[in-house]
Amino acid sequence: MIWVLVAIVIWALGWWINIRLSNSARSDETLVRVAIPVIFGLTVVIVWEMLVHGFDVNPVILPAPSSIIERLGTEGPRLWADFKQTILKGAVSGYVIGGGAALAVAVLADRSDFLTRGILPVGSFMAALPIVGTAPIFVKWLGSDWESKAAVVAVMVFFPILVNTVAGLRDTSSMQRDLMRTYGAGYWPTLFKLRLPAAMPFMFNGLKIATTLALIGAIVAEFFGSPTVGMGFRISTSFGQLALDMVWAEIVVAAIAGSAFYGAMTLIEKRVTFWHPSQR
């Protein structure tokens, strides 16, 4: 019971510090911007630790953060190997392929209303192909190694990027389009000088959502066949062995990698779409 009470107190404390920080004059400084989510995270972790002890939760259901951290410390090389296999080989290549394809198709579709009408519904059909259905098929087709994971990721990220890019390419005001028409501007200048820049805020929406999808896709696809290395392999195997601290250690790695990926996208977005009202 004591643990639980302490947990509640710590929760309140963390929340209070964050309110102070975010409303303080310095809240726009980088340090504070980083500190706030970190404090939030620390609070969650401490409260988690307290509750696990307080309620005496069995570690095969939910391990304590301390044991997860211990795993992170001792399993470094293995975690790194898994990271390389799943994220660097599977997720990133799939993201690039899927994103590139989505961009190409979006631009192609944008050339004619006919194609847009045809491709979008078919694209949304593709988006709804659940990974538990596609992953076994791609493993069957491309083998157990990272190629099949990249394919799964490519299919998963394709639709969000496509939909957002198409929406973005159309998000120009009629005056902006008319201006291009008065220049007798052909297709390509209009694309590069008007549609693509105007599409950027939307496109980054899709690119950001896709970062997390890419990660999940690469990891989950390993559940359906993999070599004996990779984050998804480790998660499913460790889960079967009830080594949940290892499962969570991999999840932590995934979370860090995912946040970094997402954060990088956000940074690029800030630089590219500085002019959009939502960024000003």
């Binding site: 964050n18 939030f40 006919f114 491709i119 059909f125 659940p130 538990v132």
Partner: protein, 306 residues
């Protein structure tokens, strides 16, 4: 309605490509089988055939090409095989039968809709919180992102077990996982949408000293409508995928996910493919419904032609 012809065109193109792919994809398996059945195949050992590509093998054994379209256990079933299976399981079966995809569709759809409801509500609430509260913006958004980097298939069994130990079973745990997947696109899109009003539109409300809630209802919410619909369409697909994912750790008893799994496990690719397509069709229909609502709403809001 104007979309029918374009969609048919694209579908036809895809079908054409699919038909072409069936041959090389299945050629090796078909050749192995043909040899067992006493047909002449070149090269004449499986190991040697392994070194030849699917297309080349097909060219060497043109008499086997037709067989690739009706192979019993294909790597890539032909469209007509999938079509027949879907016809048999959707139209030919009573919808109450457990062999009917309509029945399984409903099993999957119910948690999807509930999960979507929970997920979108949560997503919109979070987005509102993030837009209006700095604390939320700074501390919750990063963790919302983190939540999406956790592989759901790893988390799902734990959620099911924890909920199960609290006595919660059946539809609800699946809905939770569906909600978990669908809230995020809604948050991202809605945050963007709620922040999309430009300076002058905001300034106008400032001059009226409009309260925060008035600002929300009369400016931020309507301005976010296009973003909301884009998010809803991604969210409903995500929700369906979530339910299907959740069907595995709940014992794969029924639903599209169970069909996919069991079809895969027992060497019945057609069962899996039909379930896969049925799931995607369901999602496309849901997305279509939202597109329709979107079109009507935006038109009524005067934003369609702008």
């Amino acid at each position: 309605m104007r979309s029918v012809l374009p969609v048919l065109t694209v579908v036809a193109a895809i079908l054409g490509f699919w038909l072409l792919c069936v041959v090389p994809m299945n050629m090796h398996l078909v050749a192995d089988q043909a040899q067992r059945d006493g047909l002449v195949v070149t090269p004449d050992t499986p190991a040697a055939r392994q070194d030849v590509g699917g297309v080349a093998l097909a060219l060497k054994n043109t008499h086997l090409i037709a067989l690739t379209y009706e192979f019993k256990r294909p790597r890539l079933p032909s469209p007509q095989q999938v079509g027949r299976e879907m016809y048999a399981t959707i139209i030919d079966k009573k919808i109450t039968s457990k062999r009917s995809l309509v029945y399984h569709g409903w099993v999957t759809l119910a948690p999807t809709l509930l999960g979507f409801l929970i997920g979108t509500s949560l997503g919109i609430l979070l987005a509102v919180g993030i837009v209006y509260s700095r604390v939320m913006d700074r501390s919750v958004m990063p963790w919302a992102i983190v939540s999406q980097t956790i592989p759901i298939l790893a988390l799902a069994p734990m959620i099911i077990v924890v909920l199960g130990s609290m006595g919660i079973q059946g539809l609800f745990p699946k809905s939770i996982i569906a909600a978990y997947l669908s809230f995020f696109p809604v948050v991202v899109g809605m945050v963007k949408g709620l922040r999309s009003p430009d300076a002058m539109q905001l300034d106008l409300l400032r001059t009226y000293n409009a309260s925060k809630s008035q600002g929300f209802w009369s400016l931020r919410l309507p301005a976010s409508a296009p973003y909301l619909f884009a998010s809803l369409k991604i969210g409903i697909s995500a929700s369906l995928v979530g339910t299907i994912v959740a069907e595995l750790p709940t014992g794969a008893r029924a639903g599209f996910g169970a069909r996919m799994l069991v079809g895969d496990q027992y060497g019945q690719p057609l069962v899996s493919w039909a379930a896969l397509f049925a799931a995607a069709l369901t999602a496309a229909a849901l997305v279509g419904i939202f597109s329709l609502i979107e079109r009507v709403t935006l038109k009524r809001m005067g934003m369609a032609a702008a």
